[in-house]
Symmetry: C2
Subunit: 305 residues, 2 copies
C-alpha cells in the first residue's frame, strides 16, 4: 500500500506533509537523515490522543464500576471521599481533591491483586462497557487516523509505543487488541509491586503505593528508563505531554512533535483549556515557539472513528 | 540451520534437552503448549551469566578507571572511602561497606551526566579495556554457548532480554553490539533522572539517587514493569537471580529456569558460595526443590569463549 492509502483519513495539510517528510527522510537508504529501524521510535499518549477521553477518561468509567462493586459490599464507601464524588460524578470536587485522591481510587480498587488477576477483569469490562455519547464500545472509540498512522509508521520500520498517564496494566490489557501494541511497548502509571507467594506460587501483587505517575516530566524519564532512546516522533494532546514533545523535538536530526487539538464538537468533542486533569494551555499557546505541529481534528482528519 | 548447529557448543545432557524440549513445545503449531511469538519471552542475567564476572564484574573495572580519572583532579578522593578501597582493590573492605558504598561510587562517577553523554564514555572504555586473566577485550569475554542460545531462541521467535543488577546505561552501551539486544530489551539498575534544559536543549540528567537496584525481588518486579509478561525461560547464576527464576518457573505451561554453575577453573573460573556481592547458595542448594536446571560450565559446554 502507498502512503496515501495507508493515511487515507488524513487530509492534505502541514501535519500530513510533515509526517510524510519525516518518514521519507529517516527511511531513505544512504540519505543524510537515514536511521536504522532500531532507532525509529515513535511514542503516543493514549487518552485523547489515540482514543476519546471525553466526557471522562475511559479508565475513570472503569473505576466508577469498580467502586460500585466495592460499595455493594461496603455501604460506607458511598459516604467517603473520594468515592462519594466519583459515584456522584462530581468531578469538580473529585479533581479538587488532587491527584492523591485519584491514586486512592485506583489503589483501593486495584491493590492486593496480582497483575494476572487484574488483566481479565479489565478485559471483561472493556468487552462490554460503552461510551455514553457514541453508544459503542469504548475500545471502538479509537481514532481511525491514529490507527492508520501507527500502521504507517510500523510499515516503515518504526516501533510504536504508548506513553500515557493511564494505568500501565489497564492499557496493557487492551493495547495489543486495539492498537497492535504489545505490553512491553506500553509505558504508563504504575503501582509498586510486592514479590511473594500466592497460593504456593511466586507472584507479584499490586501495592497501594505509587511507583510512577507517568505525566509531564515523568514521560521523558520513563521513555529513558524503558526505551533508552529519544523518540523520533511523539504525539500528545495536553500539557501533560509537553515534556515528551520537547524532549523528542530537541533530538538531533529530523524529529516531529505533534499535538492533537480537539476542535470538533460535531464528530467528537471541542475542548482544550477548560477544567480537566491535564489541560491544554502552554503546549497550544507556544506551539510555534516549541516547534510543535498542531493537528486539528476538524481540518486534518476526514474521519474520526 | 538446525538446532544442533545453532547450539554447537552445548554438550548433550539435561540442560540442552530441556532447552530443545521447551522450544519445540512452545513453537509447535496446534500443540497443547504452543505460544504465539509475542508471548515467547526469555530473560538473562548479564554478569556471570552472559559474560565473565571474575575476578570482578566488568563494570567495577570501569568504575576503577572512572574513579582514577576523578582522583587525578581531586587528590582527596584517594583518601576517602569507598574510593580508597576501590583504588586499592580492597574488595573485602569495599563490599563490607555495603551496597550503599557501591551506589556512591556509581553516583559520584556517573551523576550530572546526560545519558547521551554517558554512552560514548562507556563505549570508548569498552573499546579498549581488557580482561586481566584472558588478555582480551572485556566485550569479547562473552560466553559462546550463551550467544548461541540467544540466537537459537530468537530464531524461534523469542524476544531476548537482559535483566541484570548492572547499570542499565552501561549495558545498553554495548548490548546491541555484543548480544544483538537493543536498549529497550535491557533492564538493569538505574538512577533517577531529572528533566531539564542542557545548553538550551531539553535533556535528562542522571541524579545521585537510586531509582532501582535490579537484584533479587526487583528482577521480577522490573520484568513486570518493563515487559508485562512472565518469562518462559530465565537464566541466572546467583541467588540474586533466584526470584526471577522462581517467578518464571511458577508460570502456567512449560517454563525453564536455568542456573549457570561456574565450575571450570581451567577455562574460566570455579566459584559459587564464596564472598562476593551476590553469592550462589540457596539457588544451588535447593535447585531440585525449586525446579531449577543447573548448567555446569565444565560438562554442559564444550567451549566457553
Amino acid at each position: 500500500m502507498t502512503a496515501e492509502q495507508l493515511l487515507a483519513t488524513w487530509n492534505e495539510g502541514a501535519a500530513k506533509s510533515q509526517i510524510l517528510d519525516l518518514v521519507q527522510r529517516v527511511t531513505k537508504p544512504g540519505g543524510a537523515d537515514f536511521l536504522p529501524p532500531a532507532e525509529r521510535v515513535a511514542t503516543f499518549d493514549n487518552d485523547g490522543t489515540l482514543w476519546c477521553e471525553q466526557p471522562l477518561q475511559v479508565q475513570v468509567f472503569f473505576l466508577i464500576d469498580r467502586v460500585k462493586a466495592l460499595a455493594d459490599k461496603d455501604a460506607t464507601i458511598e459516604e467517603r471521599q473520594p468515592f462519594k464524588a466519583l459515584l456522584e460524578h462530581d468531578f469538580k470536587t473529585l479533581f479538587g481533591l488532587g491527584k492523591q485522591a485519584i491514586f486512592e481510587l485506583v489503589f483501593t480498587t486495584h491493590s492486593g491483586m496480582t497483575e494476572e488477576e487484574f488483566a481479565p477483569i479489565a478485559r471483561e469490562w472493556l468487552a462490554h462497557a460503552k461510551h455514553p455519547k457514541f453508544g459503542r464500545l469504548f475500545k471502538q472509540c479509537t481514532f481511525r487516523p491514529q490507527l492508520e498512522l501507527l500502521r504507517f509508521l510500523r510499515a516503515n520500520g518504526f516501533k510504536t509505543y504508548i506513553v500515557s498517564g493511564g494505568g500501565i496494566d489497564f492499557m496493557r490489557a487492551c493495547a495489543e487488541e486495539i492498537y497492535e501494541i504489545p505490553p512491553e511497548q506500553v509505558i504508563g502509571s504504575s503501582a509498586k509491586l510486592r514479590f511473594d507467594t500466592r497460593a504456593g506460587r511466586p507472584a507479584l501483587t499490586k501495592l497501594a503505593e505509587l511507583n510512577s505517575f507517568d505525566d509531564r516530566e515523568a514521560k521523558p524519564q520513563n521513555i529513558a528508563l524503558h526505551i533508552g532512546r529519544r523518540p523520533v516522533l511523539a504525539f500528545g494532546n495536553s500539557d501533560g505531554d509537553l515534556p515528551m514533545l520537547q524532549y523528542t523535538k530537541a533530538g538531533a536530526g529530523p524529529r516531529l512533535a505533534l499535538l492533537l487539538h480537539h476542535d470538533d464538537s460535531e464528530r467528537e468533542f471541542a475542548y482544550d483549556r477548560e477544567f480537566r486533569l491535564s489541560p491544554l494551555n502552554e503546549a497550544l499557546n507556544k506551539s510555534t515557539e516549541y516547534g510543535i505541529t498542531v493537528v486539528s481534528m476538524q481540518s486534518d482528519w476526514n474521519a474520526v472513528f
